[in-house]
């Protein structure tokens, strides 16, 4: 565990991508909120947005934790 190379570079890269995605959405929050509130077919956009952000930010969180040394201790539970 301790000898593994920490993915600091990947954490920074995904961090930048995640931050950019958040900035892109929040700088256009009025347009996004207004359109998503229309419902109907826009439900797909809501679900896709949540999925895309969870992939991007989830990857960042994964590498961040690995870079901080927060990793599982054992595989399996039995």
């Amino acid at each position: 565990m301790g000898t593994q190379k920490k993915p600091t570079g990947r954490a920074i890269l995904w961090g930048i991508i995640s931050l950019a995605a958040y900035l892109a959405l929040f700088l256009n929050q009025d347009v996004v909120t207004r359109n998503f509130a229309r419902g109907g077919i826009f439900a797909i956009a809501v679900i896709l947005t949540a999925m895309i952000f969870s992939f991007i930010h989830g990857a960042f969180a994964n590498y961040l934790l690995e870079a901080l040394g927060i990793q599982p201790l054992k595989k399996g539970v039995h």
Binding site: L25, T33, I47, M51, S54, G58, N62, K74, V77
Partner: protein, 382 residues
């Protein structure tokens, strides 16, 4: 296989009225589509709330909704927006948590699918019960019924889990064995279903009612995981770590179906969803890692602690509903005070759960470092 198909068909039939799929029942007056202004402080508040909710969720498989929904409402969001946004935040968070725990070998996907489909059908039954109560006794009556059911069920299950976890601590074992689950395993009514990862073989007629009951209670008291996880542990005999991981699959499917319905009506505030996710996607992975640091009974300990504190919080709200029904007299100041106290205690439950999880991870890490240092010293000596 046919049992899964039957459950799937029933699930599809249930879809049209999944608005309350997470269980929160709303009165007609609550369904207001109005989006709040978010400032920096509000955003940070949502990120922290998301992190704590995610941490608990990654560790015990559920939790968070009980404080995230009122948390968003405290920023001024109408109830329907808060419920819809919580739902939309729940499915990606559960998906990431479930994936992580699957990688750790803690998840039984088949069990999760069976539980999730039967729970979603159970939600429909629960909604009927809720609607009946709402029609008969109105909003305050419905809230009173929900709170009493919530306090009773969570207190009873929470106390039993706490007692059980203490038994395991005193016996210095990984976990206890459920006598009821052993009896359930002896029920041999076909079809019998094997769940290889969870290492159990139970009758469909045991698992389906359990899933239904979980969904029914989820629709009533809005915290299905607090019933689903103990149900899997004590009725099916699944280990606590496996049960909590499997619950994430249930949360994912309930969250996704609920999101579809709410998003079609345009009630999801994607900004609040993404701010919650900013914290919870980190929290849920820390919580998942945390399960590899602790003994099985810790899941029971954390879950029961949260359940008991949350039931106190909900109990505090009961006088307000009695007042609204005209059964007791309270002044507005007292009502506001009870309301605030209830919310603060809920936040405390979440924070305490987070402290227990992180504290135990920290403690275990220190122990391991000390062990490694000890081994290194011994090697040098020899």
């Amino acid at each position: 296989m046919w049992s899964l198909v039957a459950l799937g068909t029933l699930f599809l039939i249930s879809i049209p009225s999944l608005a309350e799929a997470a269980g929160e029942a709303l009165g007609p007056g609550d369904v207001v589509k109005q989006f709040v202004r978010l400032d920096a402080l509000g955003a940070i508040y949502l990120i922290i709330l998301g992190f704590l909710g995610g941490l608990i969720s990654g560790f015990i498989g559920s939790g968070g909704a009980f404080v995230l929904t009122p948390g968003m409402m405290s920023l001024g969001a109408p109830a329907a927006i808060a419920v819809a946004s919580n739902m939309c935040h729940k499915f990606p968070k559960s998906m990431v948590g479930a994936y992580k725990r699957y990688k750790y070998g803690q998840l039984d996907l088949k069990l999760g699918v069976f539980m999730a489909i039967s729970a979603v059908i159970g939600v429909q039954l629960g909604i009927y019960v809720q609607k009946f109560i709402f029609a008969r006794w109105g909003s305050a009556g419905s809230n009173l019924y929900v709170s009493v059911a919530f306090v009773l069920i969570l207190t009873l299950v929470g106390l039993y889990m706490l007692y059980d976890a203490r038994r395991a601590v005193r016996a210095s074992t990984e976990d206890t064995v459920s006598g009821l689950a052993e009896k359930m395993k002896r029920i041999n009514i076909p079809p019998m279903i094997s769940f290889n990862a969870a290492r159990i073989r139970v009758s469909f007629w045991v698992i389906a009612p359990l899933g239904l009951a979980t969904g029914l209670l989820a629709a009533t008291i809005a915290v299905g995981g607090f019933i689903g996880v103990p149900g899997m542990i004590y009725i099916l005999g699944v280990s606590p770590i496996m049960a909590s991981a499997t619950e994430l699959v249930v949360a994912f499917l309930m969250g996704l179906t609920g999101t579809i319905t709410w998003a079609v009506s345009g009630f999801v505030d994607i900004r609040m969803v993404l701010l919650l996710l900013a914290g919870s996607l980190i929290g849920v992975q820390v919580g998942a890692v945390g399960t590899t640091y602790v003994k099985e009974y810790m899941i029971k300990l954390v879950m029961s602690t949260i359940m008991l504190i949350v039931s106190i919080s909900r109990g505090i709200a009961i006088p307000t509903y009695l007042h609204e029904l005209g059964l007791i007299e309270l002044n507005q100041g007292t009502v506001n005070l009870l309301d605030k106290a209830s919310f603060i205690i809920m936040c405390f439950a979440l924070a305490l759960g987070g402290v227990i999880v992180l504290g135990n991870m920290w403690k275990r890490k220190k122990e391991l470092q000390a062990e490694e240092a000890g081994v290194a010293v011994n090697l040098q000596k020899s």
